[in-house]
């Protein structure tokens, strides 16, 4: 509550008009240039759902082909494209994006904020994802879809003759999604950690936010190994660099490691946000706060960490030593503990409350029942001997669908039924919801339960047909029937969502009487929250009387938009004390432009149109620089802003407190993980060969050490530049930037000189190839460093960066910390390791 004078209703109306104007979504075709989280969230979710339906149809085609033995409904090749695309689309274009959509849509209002900190980054992520998705899905219409499984094992997938352009489409199409996911990770971590409403301490944060924080961290460490693997894979396909070719010293197993280091955390990245929805839904319908808030935090963090120790359980049959397999079996069993804790938290909450029936709870409970079966079969196959029989059979197909559909799809549908009123001020239909549930529940079990038996009776995965009389006929026919029943249920959900509802009366706000903040937001308004509240409870709507009214009356922070900017508050990590008034990006065409031109780079690379690739790369660079120039580190007219309730906060922050610095740090953590994966590859080859150099000369000692030394000097110059800039010596700052730039150029040259003068040919053996990849990675990052130096130089010359406003330079120096570590590691390893081993 406020102790300043009450405003008149006219003044309040003026405030609302300001807010509405500033937060307005443009109309006409400019609608698509919106970056507002509610628009982006809606588009993201809709696109993800469309891709899901597409992948679902592919699954139905697969089931029709398998309904009877020796069927010829689909040719073998079409079938292989269908199941590959089904898996790829479901995992990359539905399961991960749907939670990004939900998070982008819900989190700001759930946290009491107006927006996420980087709205244009969200928009960029969405457009990247949409373009990549259309590209990948469209390929099947040309018979050019990837056809070697969603996991694309070499050498089958690197064999140009067999896998055709489909593999390139997979690799490059996925690059979009990887970019979008890292962008989402940055957004979520910064948003959850720094943009909560004042008073929303770390122990009061909604559990959905806890889960998504952990998931964002997981994305940061799980996706980059896949990115590194994709780079190696595409280099092999495009240029013949033999990373996975045994004849030239490579090893298909390296791909399996990199893919599954991504692949296993990926399924938890998919599962945790969906369970997070249940953590929001269960308390509402048990009509009490959750029992075991800290247990959920345990479960989320525990699962997040342990899930990174499971990946080799996808490789139990590859002939690795039993001791290695057993470690992963142990971790796979251990991860069942935090997973189970969550289930018991929901049951405990229900037992300690008074449960009322609702469609969301129906889907939640049904999903749980299905998920537990999947969890139990997971415990079974986590044991190595059992997996030696079950691996690559329909038993695994059954297991994975039980955990994903029970643990993810059902909770997501529960979430749709629960949160629909936030979109549309109306509820979805109870009647249709119940019918859909039973069709989905029964259909799913009829479809997938028999697969456990078919698998143990010997039916392998990924088979386009099977012989009659081997004993699988009935299982498959029943599965197909079940699949269609399940599809009917999904169709009813789609119908319920899309049916016109203008005749249906609107619900009052918060129709479920939930306790958390997202239920304050009004679907018609674009401003997120009318004013940013002070929070004193985990369930503010239940525990803070008059809260909703006060927020709507603008009695809290930032009730207006005096300077015509989109603003939200930055608060401290642990206790959410207000620190800064953050101006976030508004409607912009640059996000779409950057996404499409980056898309152009990937698409052109797929078809080897080198000139188009280069042109698109240039456009992307220009778009990103323009985006940064116009929208970040803007020096404000006034240093401070009166945010209300007698508080003034700074508008500009630089250094470790600023969101931009955090974004750089988080991005570089992801980048560093991808780099670490390449270094892992280097040492992996050392472990599998007696002489991993294959007798080929290395880059020597001189050039690598020179490169490391020059990069270090360039970094020191950057440190000096930052210090000098703080001392208000712009001319010297610019000189140091220039010096650093020249040193970087020299460093890059030295780095390339090593393998070049040693005559290392990367197509001949994997050793030259891996040396070149590590070198090129480092040098390219040096190049990015040069672009950043030029940017800082220009900003300084243009008066957009000075002694007090040095965010650009500080963020760039942060980048340089990561770069110098990379450079020293790269050239140290490349130069010294061949000598030392």
């Amino acid at each position: 509550m406020t102790d300043t004078a009450e405003l008149s209703s006219e003044e309040r109306g003026a405030q609302e008009a300001e807010l509405r104007e500033v937060w307005r979504t443009p109309s006409g075709w400019r609608y698509w240039t919106s970056v507002n989280n509610s628009d982006i969230g809606l588009w993201y979710g809709s696109a993800a759902f469309l891709f899901m339906l597409f992948a679902g149809v592919l699954a139905l085609l697969v089931r029709v082909q398998l309904a009877v033995p020796d069927n010829d409904f689909l040719s073998a090749d079409t079938f292989n494209q269908a199941f590959t695309l089904h898996g790829t689309v479901m995992m990359f274009l539905f399961a991960v994006p749907i939670f990004e959509a939900v998070a982008i849509f819900l989190l700001p209002s759930m946290l009491g904020a107006r927006e996420l900190p980087f709205p244009r980054l969200s928009a960029f992520g969405f457009w990247s994802f949409a373009l990549g998705g259309v590209f990948v899905c469209g390929s099947i219409l040309f018979g050019a879809a990837p056809n070697t499984g969603w996991f694309m094992y070499p050498p089958l997938a690197t064999d140009k003759e067999y896998s055709g352009i489909g593999a390139d489409i997979w690799l490059l199409g996925l690059s979009f999604i990887e970019v979008a996911s890292i962008a989402a990770a940055v957004e979520l971590i910064v948003g959850i950690m720094k943009c909560r409403a004042p008073g929303m301490r770390i122990n009061m944060m909604p559990l959905f936010a806890w889960y998504l924080l952990i998931v964002a961290g997981m994305i940061l460490f799980a996706f980059p190994p896949l990115i590194a693997g994709d780079i190696l894979f595409e280099m092999e396909r495009m240029f013949g660099w033999p990373f996975f070719d045994a004849a030239r010293g490579g090893d298909p197993l390296l791909w399996q490691h990199l893919f599954w280091i991504f692949g296993h955390p990926e399924v938890y990245i998919i599962f945790l946000p969906a369970i997070a929805l249940m953590a929001m839904i269960a308390p509402t319908f048990a009509q009490r706060p959750i029992v075991g808030y800290s247990w959920i935090v345990l479960a989320a963090v525990g699962t997040g960490f342990l899930s990174f120790g499971l990946w080799v359980h996808h490789m139990f049959t590859t002939g690795l030593p039993q001791i290695s397999l057993a470690f992963f079996s142990a971790a796979s069993e251990a991860v069942a503990i935090p997973t189970g804790v969550q289930i018991f938290v929901f049951i405990a909450t229900m037992l300690a409350g008074r449960v009322i029936f609702s469609v969301p709870m129906l889907f939640g409970a049904g999903g749980l029942a299905i998920f537990v079966i999947g969890g139990l079969t997971g415990v079974m196959v986590a044991l190595v001997p059992v997996d030696w029989q079950a691996h690559d059979t329909y038993f695994i197909v059954a297991h994975l669908h039980y955990v994903l559909i029970g643990g993810m799809l059902f909770p997501v549908v529960a979430g749709i039924y629960y949160y629909y009123p936030l979109l549309n001020a109306r509820k979805l239909s109870d009647r249709l919801g119940k019918i859909a549930f039973w069709l989905m529940f029964i259909g799913f079990n009829v479809a997938f339960f028999p697969m456990h038996l078919a698998g143990l009776r010997g039916m392998p995965r990924r088979v386009f047909t099977y012989p009659a009389d081997i004993g699988w006929d009935w299982f498959n026919l029943i599965s197909t029937i079940g699949a269609f029943i399940f599809a009917a249920g999904v169709t009813i959900v789609v119908v319920d969502v899309l049916r016109p509802k203008h005749r249906q009366p609107k619900e009052e706000q918060n129709p479920w009487n939930a306790g958390t903040l997202e239920w304050i937001s009004e679907p018609e308004e674009k401003w997120g929250v009318r004013s940013i509240p002070i929070i004193r409870s985990r369930y503010p709507i239940w525990d803070q009387p008059g809260l909703v009214e006060d927020i709507k009356a603008g009695r809290y922070y930032l009730p207006d938009a005096k300077d015509g900017a989109r603003e939200t508050l930055v608060t401290s990590v642990l206790d959410a004390e207000p620190l800064q008034c953050l101006r976030v990006g508004g409607t912009s065409v640059l996000s779409i432009l950057a996404a499409f031109s980056l898309g152009g780079v990937f698409i052109a690379l797929t078809f080897h149109w080198w000139i188009v690739t280069a042109a698109c790369a240039v456009i992307t660079l220009v778009a990103i620089v323009a985006w940064l120039w116009t929208g970040t580190a803007v020096i404000p007219r006034d240093e401070m802003r009166d945010v209300g309730l007698g508080k003034t906060l700074p508008l500009y922050m630089s250094g470790p407190q600023s969101v931009g610095w955090w974004a750089m740090f988080i991005t570089m953590a992801g980048d560093g993980t991808a780099y670490a994966s390449l270094i892992f590859g280097y040492f992996f080859y050392w472990t599998i060969h007696n002489d991993f150099t294959g007798g080929h000369a290395g880059p020597g000692l001189l050039w690598p050490l020179a490169a490391a030394g020059l990069f270090t000097l360039a970094w020191l110059a950057m440190l000096l530049a930052r210090r000098v800039n703080g001392g208000d010596r712009p001319a010297l700052t610019r000189l140091l930037l220039l010096l650093s730039l020249l040193l970087t150029l020299a460093a890059g040259g030295a780095g390339l000189a090593g393998p070049y003068f040693a005559g290392m040919d990367p197509t001949v053996h994997v050793y030259p190839a891996i040396v070149w990849v590590v070198t090129l990675w480092t040098v390219v990052h040096g190049g990015v460093g040069i672009v950043m130096q030029l940017y800082c130089l220009t900003r300084s010359l243009a008066g957009r960066m000075d002694r007090h406003h040095d965010m650009d330079l500080r963020n760039v120096v942060l980048y340089w910390h990561f770069l110098v570590i990379t450079a020293i590691t790269s050239f140290g390893v490349l130069g010294l390791f061949p000598e030392l081993r």
Binding site: G199, R201, I202, N203, M204, P289, G292, Y293, S294, W295, V297, L298, V301, G302, F305, L306, F308, G309, G319, L320, P321, Q322, I323, S324, A326, F327, F328, S329, A330, A331, E333, A334, I337, P338, I535, R536, S537, R538, V573, L574, D575, T687, I688
Partner: protein
């Protein structure tokens, strides 16, 4: 023991125990993998098992220490969850409790990962 402050003003300490688990896991896997990659399939794991056993004891000790510190931050169990009051004290208690729970999980997880060291003594596939 004021070397380590009782009131933790960082979120990072929440991850202490799971990080120890992760380092222990990596130590076990990498050591065994390199040992077996450079030896042949019949080779015994020999002293590697002993070394990893010692590392296991060190990890368990580290986690126990982290558990003790968390327990201390939690006020030695003086207050029961939920710690949902809008006060700094409750925030600290929550951190202590959650860190304690994570220490317990990490302890169990390290024990699980050490089980293979007991039963498998050679590099066979």
């Amino acid at each position: 023991m004021r070397l380590i402050p009782k009131e933790i003003e960082s979120l990072w300490t929440l991850f202490t125990a799971p990080t120890i688990w992760a380092l222990h896991f990596l130590a076990c896997y990498i050591t065994a993998a390199i040992h077996c990659a450079k030896a042949d399939a019949a080779a015994s794991l020999g002293t590697t098992r002993l070394v990893l056993g010692i590392i296991t004891v060190a990890a368990l000790t580290g986690i126990a220490l982290s558990a003790y510190l968390a327990w201390r931050q939690w006020g030695f169990g003086s207050g029961d969850p939920p710690h949902d009051e809008p006060t700094r004290r409750d925030r600290l208690l929550f951190q202590g409790f959650a860190t304690l729970l994570l220490s317990g999980l990490s302890f169990v997880a390290v024990l699980f990962v050490a089980v293979p060291l007991v039963f498998i003594g050679a590099c066979q596939p």
